[in-house]
């Protein structure tokens, strides 16, 4: 599906490097290990050594990046920045694999128009999520405001909203379009969860749920997004390994 090297410009060359299976594989493994490792370590340190006794039912996720809650706020900041950066090759790869563009006669037939529509939307929201997640790490709770602008809140809304909306479109794509990334029947539970899980928890965060703290709801949204992204990443890595 790639153009001839001679026809490529530098942007295409970078794009091809970023979406090369090897890059996506390493980025995928690294993001899983780094993100889950750093967040788990951040929670553990905050709970054991933090001055306020961190707990997911009483503390927002962002409190992991606040120096009055944890002695090492940098752990969560690094987790956000690395997750935001390392998910970009993964998003580009998903887009390329679910909606490949025929470059030569051998690549035909092209996928259905819906593959392009859904991955186009999924790509946009995922990129928005990734970029804003980098922003969550940069504008952590300690550096949350620039002047009167609540940068941390804006980035948090953008990140969670971006990933939740992306999950809807990519979930629909996994369930209803022809794709080879996630084999049947696994595409159905993963796709259906993507369509309803993250957005449902995002709505609960806005409306609130009786008897559940808003802090726990925020954590639940993160778990809902992880329950969508982790299997997707696993299957993508499996697919890359199979391609070799």
């Amino acid at each position: 599906m790639t153009k001839e090297i001679a026809e490529e410009d530098w942007i295409d060359r970078i794009y091809n490097k970023i979406t090369a299976p090897k890059t996506v594989k390493y980025a995928g493994i690294l993001v899983l290990v780094l993100y889950i490792g750093l967040v788990a370590l951040g929670v553990l340190i905050a709970a054991l050594f933090g001055s306020t006794g961190y707990s997911v039912t009483t503390h927002y996720i962002s409190a992991l990046g606040a120096s009055d809650t944890t002695p090492v706020p940098i752990l969560y900041d690094l987790a956000c920045i690395s997750a935001g950066v390392l998910t970009i090759p993964f998003i580009l790869y998903l887009e390329k694999e679910i909606a490949p563009i025929p470059r030569q006669a051998g690549d035909l037939p092209a996928p259905n128009r819906w593959n392009y529509r859904l991955t186009g939307m999924g790509f946009f929201w995922s990129m928005l999520g990734s970029i804003f997640y980098i922003g969550v790490g940069i504008f952590s709770a300690d550096r949350g405001e620039i002047g009167d602008i609540p940068m941390h809140e804006i980035c948090s809304f953008g990140a969670f909203g971006g990933f939740a909306f992306a999950a809807i479109f990519l979930g629909i794509a996994l369930v209803f379009t022809r794709q080879s990334l996630i084999p049947k029947p696994y595409n159905y539970p993963i796709g259906v969860w993507g369509m309803i899980g993250p957005i449902a928890f995002a709505i609960f965060n806005l409306t609130g749920l009786p008897g559940v703290t808003s802090e726990l709801l925020e954590w639940s949204l993160l778990w809902a997004i992880l329950a969508w992204i982790i299997p997707l990443a696993m299957f993508t890595l499996h697919y890359i390994n199979k391609q070799k």
Binding site: Q104, Y116, F123
Partner: protein, 240 residues
């Protein structure tokens, strides 16, 4: 770019009928006559026969769908519902011709990946805008249930403004055949800058005048796009 008739299912056949140049031509002229005709009539009736004296400084566009301001609120509602429906084939047509998918080797080379991204985003926003338009007509000020009129009005203006941004980027920076040069640059840059800037002000200063301004700004973009699409569809018809 089309599959052979025998290879298509009924959805694809309906889709092909919907975006056939002939359908676009019929829908296009009907939409122009319906929208401008009914809107002008709605304004004239509200200004001359409406009890409180309708004007664009003090009255929202939606007030023309309220029986308190006009004796004929159905004019605006009908204009919105009909235009919203008639715009749908246009969104499909633009998507197909601005982001064509190669189906046979003669269709190659395929457009750049960015073409598909921008066009699909624009398509989604425009479809949402059309949906909002139909809903604003259905849930008019007279039939406003649970604030749905305001919600759909925001969806209508917001979606078209964001759709214009993506469409502007597409027509300015990537190769296309629907809009002739240098017209594509003027239209594209207008689409990128004006609706989003004016839309932001309109959202910040929610007032009838700002609503009318964003309305005319969007009309200033959609009308030339519309005319160019009609011109393109007619040239396609001539080519057979």
């Amino acid at each position: 770019m089309e599959k052979k008739e025998a290879e298509t299912n009924w959805i694809e056949r309906a889709y092909n009928k919907l975006i056939a140049p002939k359908t676009i031509k019929i829908c296009g002229y009907t939409a122009i006559v319906t929208f401008f005709g009914l809107m002008s009539l709605a304004i004239i009736v509200a200004v001359t026969l409406g009890p409180p004296g309708y004007n664009i400084i003090d009255n929202w566009i939606s007030d023309m769908g309220n029986h308190y301001y006009t004796p004929a609120p159905f004019l605006l509602n009908a204009a919105l519902i009909c235009t919203g429906i008639l715009l749908v084939p246009f969104h499909f047509y633009l998507e197909r011709h601005l982001a064509p998918i190669p189906r046979v080797p003669e269709d190659l080379p395929a457009p750049h990946r960015m073409t598909y991204r921008l066009m699909e985003l624009s398509f989604f926003c425009n479809m949402l805008g059309s949906f909002g338009m139909i809903m604003v007509g259905i849930f008019s000020e007279d039939r406003d249930i649970a604030g749905l009129h305001f919600i759909f009005s925001m969806i209508l203006f917001g979606s078209f403004a964001i759709g214009a941004l993506f469409m502007g980027l597409r027509t300015t920076f990537l190769k296309q055949s629907v809009f002739p040069k240098p017209f594509n640059y003027i239209l594209g840059i207008y689409g990128i800058c004006v609706p989003s800037i004016v839309g932001t002000f309109a959202a910040l200063y929610l007032s009838p005048l700002w609503e009318w301004i964003i309305f005319f700004v969007l009309l200033g973009l959609i009308t030339p796009i519309f005319v160019n699409v009609l011109r393109h569809a007619e040239s396609q018809l001539k080519q057979g």
